[in-house]
């Protein structure tokens, strides 16, 4: 079972969080700080799984951004590890304008995608990079919230979770278009 998904940058700032279990808002900041410390302190050659209290963390680094998923210990860690990558690929695809690693892998309007992801891996995120047509799951999401129209809303939500430095340029770019 997935307990939470976090996207944090190297400075330890949370860009996006989604909890599938009840965690009080006031306790979240402390938990996130602990989790980030846990993951950031690890070296490249150490494995991508680490325990934090009773949660097993599976994390993956994309440039300055870490994506951390908290799971129960009955979960298959490697499949979660790949799920993260899948998630990122989907994000990349969804915002097809992005090409640079930094930009593409910084948080985007991911909440609604995360909303579709649930504690157990739903079929949500199937997407192979070779496909021309966007994957079904994303269609679903688009259909229920037409963010791809570059409406003002998409900008606002997206900007909420932008990586700090890139946000503003992105943000301005959206506004200008």
């Amino acid at each position: 079972m997935i307990k939470f998904v976090l996207m944090v940058n190297r400075q330890g700032q949370t860009r996006l969080s989604r909890y599938y279990e009840r965690v009080e808002v006031t306790r979240r900041a402390a938990l996130e700080a602990d989790v980030v410390r846990c993951c950031l302190s690890r070296k490249k050659e150490q494995c991508s799984f680490v325990d934090h209290r009773d949660v097993r963390l599976v994390y993956r680094q994309y440039a300055a951004l870490y994506i951390v998923v908290g799971v129960t210990d009955t979960e298959n860690e490697l499949s979660i590890y790949e799920l993260i990558h899948n998630f990122v690929e989907v994000l990349d695809k969804y915002f097809s304008r992005v090409s640079e690693l930094d930009v593409s892998f910084s948080g985007r309007h991911t909440t609604s995608i995360c909303v579709v992801m649930r504690p157990c891996i739903s079929h949500t995120l199937y997407c192979s990079p070779s496909d021309k047509a966007p994957p079904p799951a994303i269609h679903l999401d688009k259909s229920s919230a037409p963010y791809h129209s570059k409406s003002s809303f998409s900008v606002t939500i997206i900007s909420t979770f932008f990586n700090v430095n890139i946000i503003l340029t992105q943000f301005d770019g959206f506004r200008l278009s």
Binding site: L16, S17, R22, V25, T26, A29, Q46, C47, S48, F49, V50, D51, R53, D54, N76, E77, L78, S79, Y81, E82, L83, T111, S112, V115, V116, R118, C120, I121, S122, H123, Y126, C127, S128, D131, A133, P135, P136, H139, L140, K142, S143, S144, A145, P146, S149, S151, S152, F153, V155, T156, I157, S159, T160, F161, F162, V164, I167, L168, F171, R175
Partner: protein
């Protein structure tokens, strides 16, 4: 899929046009968030951020509450609120507005509203109730997007009580032409299943339809439900194995659309899910396992690509292969896979390999040998998580030979560990290991090492554990340690040595620096010194008293530890010196602010002066006689009644007090009708909330203490106590030890030839290659670690508790005891049963015997307790019918009187004459009572087993008939029954020796934990004179209704009880309309079928009561509302209301 997109997209233009209007408002609104983000990034200190956010929140608050804010602005405000919350600042004022936005907004605004709701609220938030109407409306909408949004939010959170209101709508969506909607509906139902499984029980066949859906997405969604259901009850879904296998086959074969591929692996997460389901289904079941061998092989083969995700699939396959019934070539392949993982240079794979190995080792410890060198390397791995996983692995293969080394490794890790959580976990494991092996003083030397898990080792290990763990330890570890010390092991001399050693080592510890010792440890030390220091001859009590006094004087000592120390002193204050020390100490603490300390000091003072009393209160070497604890505190009754007479308020349990407090404030939680009308009528009904108000008034007016209520609460408390401490002492501890023993045993299923093969191939590994110096060290370590596992060594064969000898022993024991029982068989029983047998089996009825039977049965009928007869009128009448039938000499029909009504489950067709025969074997005291049909349990070569359950007023009696159908005599019949949910106790056994006779076994059953149906698993074993012993397994299922009895209470009592009970369920039922007054008719049906007691019916409301044997009450409140029957059940027993609701539904459906 694409047509859906088109459809939905065509529905969008209106939204889009609304949305893409360029305008000043929009720009400014976006930049507001932009400004906020920019502002925050520019700040340097946390304090400034806090100030900024609070300012922001204040402005949001002001705007959201202003009536002029448009929905569009509201949407923007919500986004800002979400942002603030994600930074960790609570914006609870905006929650209600999020709901409002979801309610009133259109399209995008609605979407943001729902999004905000799902981020802000949690399952139990009371505001969630306000969302119900919106969801209901959106579910009925013709707009696909709105339906989607509603279903999405439902599948994330929904108030449990409101499920009935939307369930039909969600169910209807299962047939929707659009797969998106179907899929979302399945996920919503999955959520319902998780929070209230009983409420979706009736749609199980619809889940099956979803599983067969032509859209893979819907099918995948339904797998979540199946995984959950199969985890709970694998037996019920065995028939689906073939379907899951064929789905997996299609997926692996690449039959799914290419969209589902991930790095050209077809639907990997789906594969993993399916393999998990299969492993649950195939566990301990050869037939089912056989179906899946082929597809598992295929999966293994296909997953040979070099990519992480295929490794993830392989890992799942390996786990599955080792879970299901073993097949040698698959096991071989799986073992090879694990080898590849463990040896991989990739650290993630190594981790996964270790994890797989840890799992597999429980079934096949030999595999550890093969990888012993890798395991040793991992033990010194720089990555802590790898190290921990390795320790976990070693923990599973511990035996008497390697326990010392493994514990040493764990302690090493503990000394390094800084994380509390890990420490607690590991400390628990070390303590468990240390306690498991101290008694086995198996000494053996291997090369230069001598390992002897003996007393000294045990005490020293526990000392290290205590001092390392700090104060984070779980309290049951010191508890069980002390228990172990006090109860001792087999030999008295060993016990004495153990205690003596403990005393000596603690005295040494106390003489040294005590500042760093954790409080728990000091408490343990105090107790041991108090109890056993007299064992040591050279140790004088005065010395110990001095040490304890020093402990008391230290500032760091907590007051709890001080009271332990005082207690120890009380045990030791002997002689003149002792008394004077005691007086001195007690004077210091007798005026302490801490009441417990004061109490102990008082005890010390009094007991030190009166040595006779002390000897009586604290006898030395007490034989640990179990103390009788009066948990109902009945000795206080006099005091209570005096206080009540003096005008004190009666005691109310905390939850009741809370409930009464909250009654005034909280929203009404009673479900409305299906259509949720907001009208005056519903308001007025909700106001009346009958049971609560009624009982409140009665509680005020009635006398202070209510007997039945009191009984209920005491039993509740008693249960809580019982779970931890039983008569034998601490229960949890024993269970865990047993578990560990099971874990240790290798799988008995593996064939011997195969085992021999594995042994042959692995035992050579360590000795084959000559190795350099450091390597040798490692090898030595390896050989000490894996010693017990290699079955070459004869020592280890003796030490190891293998499954085969154990089994043999158990069987032999069973045989001897059952043979004893056979000899004890009473003649009279055989005689009567055979005569009755003959009588009823087509033999012409002998008049004298008939009348005898007649008299006995009618006598018992008349003895039926009043309550039961009244509640179950049909039963009574039919019992009479039986009598007349007997007289009318038509015996073959008589035995099977129509008492099935007690058991709504229609069983398979019965062999009628046999049923009749068997029923005549019922013991006389049961023959007149209401019972279920006699069901065949299993048929063996020589034996037929059948069973039925008989309803007595105070118990359920399970009657098992064993008929010998062959011509040869059967001996040593042994019957074992077991159930998780039931407590089974044998009432009587009357085994039959003769050929073609019937043995009758009686068991009385009590429910431990309510479930809709409770099942018993049983084993029968027997032996024919020439031949091997045979065993067979069977199961027997009873509905919960069998355990339900009417509970006679008055309306006042009902009222008081209602308030005291904490578990409740509400649901709507259908009313029965057959001419009579619907409520009365429905209640009558329920009363008859479920054995309920109707307390009172007033107008459109009725209250009923029943109890679950023994004495676990459940109260029901019925109200007719909008053509449906709203039911509200309450009970002190969890799950009981849910189960009863299910049976009510069933009863009404069947009517």
């Amino acid at each position: 899929m694409s047509d859906v997109v088109e459809k939905t997209l065509t529905a969008l233009p209106s939204l889009l046009s609304l949305d893409s209007q360029p305008g000043a408002a929009k720009l400014s609104s976006t930049s507001k968030l932009g400004n906020l983000i920019r502002g925050i990034t520019e700040l340097t200190s946390k304090h400034e951020e806090e100030k900024l956010i609070h300012r922001e929140l204040a402005s949001i608050k002001e705007q959201v509450s202003s009536p002029n804010t448009s929905m569009r602005q509201m949407k923007e405000l919500m986004v800002r609120a979400i942002y603030c919350e994600s930074l960790g600042y609570e914006a609870s004022f905006s929650y209600i507005h999020a709901i409002k936005l979801a309610q009133q907004g259109t399209g995008l605004e609605k979407r943001v509203g729902y999004l905000a709701v799902s981020l802000f609220l949690n399952e139990n938030h009371e505001l969630l109730l306000l969302l119900v109407n919106t969801v209901l409306k959106d579910l009925q909408s013709t707009n696909l997007i709105e339906v989607c949004m509603a279903l999405t939010v439902v599948s994330q959170m929904f108030p449990k009580d409101m499920i009935p209101a939307i369930l039909p709508l969600v169910e209807e969506k299962l047939n929707h032409p659009k797969e998106i909607i179907r899929r979302k509906a399945v996920l919503a139902l999955y959520k319902f299943y998780l929070i209230a499984p009983n409420q979706v029980q009736h749609i199980h066949n619809k889940f099956r339809k979803a599983l067969c859906d032509k859209d893979p997405g819907v099918m995948t969604a339904s797998l979540h439900i199946y995984l959950q259901m199969i985890q709970e009850n694998a037996e019920g879904y065995k028939d689906l194995t073939a379907s899951f296998v064929s789905i997996l086959k299609q997926v692996v074969g690449g039959k799914l659309p290419i969209d589902f591929n991930y790095h050209s692996v077809p639907a990997p997460w789906l594969q993993i899910q399916l393999i998990r389901i299969l492993s649950l289904l195939g566990k301990n079941d050869q037939r089912t396992s056989e179906i899946m061998y082929e597809v598992l092989d295929e999966s293994l083969r296909r997953a040979e690509m070099n990519h992480n995700i295929t490794y993830a699939i392989l890992y799942e396959c390996v786990k599955c292969i080792y879970t299901i019934h073993p097949k040698s070539d698959l096991l071989e392949k799986a073992a090879k896979c694990i080898g590849n993982f463990v040896l991989s240079p990739k650290i993630n794979l190594k981790y996964l390999g270790l994890k797989a190995l840890t799992y597999v080792i429980q079934q096949d410890p030999k595999l550890a040998l093969q990888h012993q060198m890798t395991i040793i390397e991992c033990l010194d791995h720089p990555d802590l998580i790898i190290k921990r996983e390795t320790l976990e692995l070693l923990f599973r293969i511990t035996n008497t030979q390697n326990v010392v080394v493994i514990v040493e490794k764990m302690l090493e890790f503990l000394r390094m560990s800084t994380d509390d959580y890990t420490t607690i976990d590991l400390v628990g494991k070390v303590a468990e290991l240390a306690e498991k092996y101290p008694s086995d003083c198996v000494c053996f030397s291997y090369k230069n090492y001598t390992y002897a898990p003996d007393n000294e080792w045990f005490i020293e290990t526990m000392n290290t554990v205590f001092s390392l763990s700090g104060d984070t330890m779980q309290p049951d570890i010191p508890n069980s340690f002390l228990k172990l010390l006090s109860e001792g092991f087999e030999s008295v001399e060993e016990d004495r040595k153990l205690r003596l050693f403990a005393v000596d080592s603690y005295v040494t510890l106390l003489k040294g620096e005590t500042g760093k010792l954790p409080q728990f440890f000091l408490q343990v030390i105090s107790w041991v010194l108090g109890e056993y220091s007299h064992l040591s001859e050279e140790l004088k009590p005065a010395t110990v008293l001095e040490l304890l006094q020093k402990l008391l004087d230290r500032k760091q000592t907590s007051s709890e530890t001080k009271s332990w120390a005082l207690m120890a002193m009380t045990k030791l204050c002997e002689g003149r010196a002792g008394v004077s020390v005691a007086q001195q100490v007690s004077e210091t603490y007798i005026s302490s602010m801490d009441t417990v300390l004061r109490q102990r000091a008082q005890e010390l003072q009094h007991l030190s002066q009166d040595s006779e009393l002390r000897a009586r209160v604290l006898p030395r070497d007490a034989d640990l006689e179990p103390l009788e604890v009066d948990s109902s505190l009945s000795f206080l009754d006099g005091f209570v009644s005096e206080a009540l007479a003096a005008g004190a308020a009666p005691y109310k349990p905390p939850h009741q007090r809370q409930e009464e407090l909250s009654q005034a404030k909280v929203l009404s939680l009673e479900p409305y009708g299906l259509s949720l009308p907001i009208s005056m009528s519903s308001c007025s009904i909700a106001d009346r909330q009958s049971p609560t108000l009624l009982s409140m008034s009665s509680g005020l007016s009635g006398d202070s203490t209510d007997l039945s209520h009191k009984g209920g609460s005491t039993t509740l408390k008693f249960e809580g106590v019982k779970r931890v401490w039983g008569k034998e002492g601490y229960l949890a501890q024993k269970e865990s030890v047993e578990e560990a023993v099971q874990v240790e045993a290798p799988s008995p299923l593996r064939s011997t030839s195969q085992q021999a093969e594995v042994v042959g191939s692995h035992s050579q590994t360590p000795t084959l290659t000559p190795t350099p110096e450091p390597e040798q060290e490692k090898q030595q370590l390896a050989s000490s670690l894996f010693f017990g596992i290699s079955s070459q060594s004869s020592v280890c064969l003796m030490g190891k508790s293998g499954p085969t000898p154990q089994r043999f022993r158990r069987k032999a024991k069973g045989q001897s005891s059952s043979s004893g029982a056979t000899e004890q068989m009473s003649n009279s029983v055989v005689f009567t049963s055979t005569t009755v047998d003959n009588l009823l089996c087509n033999n012409p009825p002998d008049s004298t015997i008939t009348s005898e039977v007649d008299v006995s049965s009618s006598k018992h009928t008349s003895e039926l307790p009043q309550g039961l007869t009244a509640a179950n009128g049909t039963c009574d009448i039919e019992a009479e019918l039986t009598d007349s039938d007997l007289k009318g000499s038509s015996p073959p029909l008589s035995g099977d009187n129509g008492l099935e009504n007690a058991d709504p489950d229609p069983h398979e067709n019965l062999d009628k004459p046999q049923g009749v025969c068997l029923s005549s074997h019922l013991p006389a005291e049961l023959s007149g009572l209401c019972r279920s049909e006699i069901t065949p349990l299993c048929t063996l070569q020589n034996l037929d087993l059948s069973a039925c359950h008989v309803h007595r007023e105070d118990t359920i009696v399970l009657v098992v008939f064993i008929t010998n159908s062959s011509d040869s005599a059967v001996q040593h019949i042994r019957l074992d029954l077991d159930s998780e949910l039931l407590e089974v106790s044998c009432v009587s056994e009357s085994p039959a020796k003769d050929v073609r006779s019937v043995a009758v076994y009686l068991y009385s059953l009590t429910v431990r934990r309510p479930a809709v149906h409770v099942e018993l698993a049983g084993t029968v074993s027997y032996q024919v004179p020439v031949g091997t012993p045979q065993t067979a397994q069977f199961s027997y299922k009873l509905p919960l209704t069998a355990f339900i009895r009417p509970l006679t209470v008055s309306t006042e009592e009902y009222g008081t009880m209602w308030l005291a009970f904490s578990h409740d369920t509400k649901q709507n039922l259908t009313l029965i309309n057959d001419g009579q007054e619907p409520l009365v008719a429905t209640l009558n049906v329920l009363r008859k079928k479920l054995q309920l007691h109707v307390v009172e019916v007033i107008g459109v409301e009725g209250i009923l009561a029943c109890k679950l044997l023994q004495d676990q009450p459940c109260l029901m409140h019925f109200r007719v509302h909008e053509g449906a029957l709203a039911v509200w059940l309450r009970s002190p027993v969890p799950d009981l209301p849910d189960c009863l609701i299910y049976h009510c539904q069933r009863a009404l459906q069947e009517h």
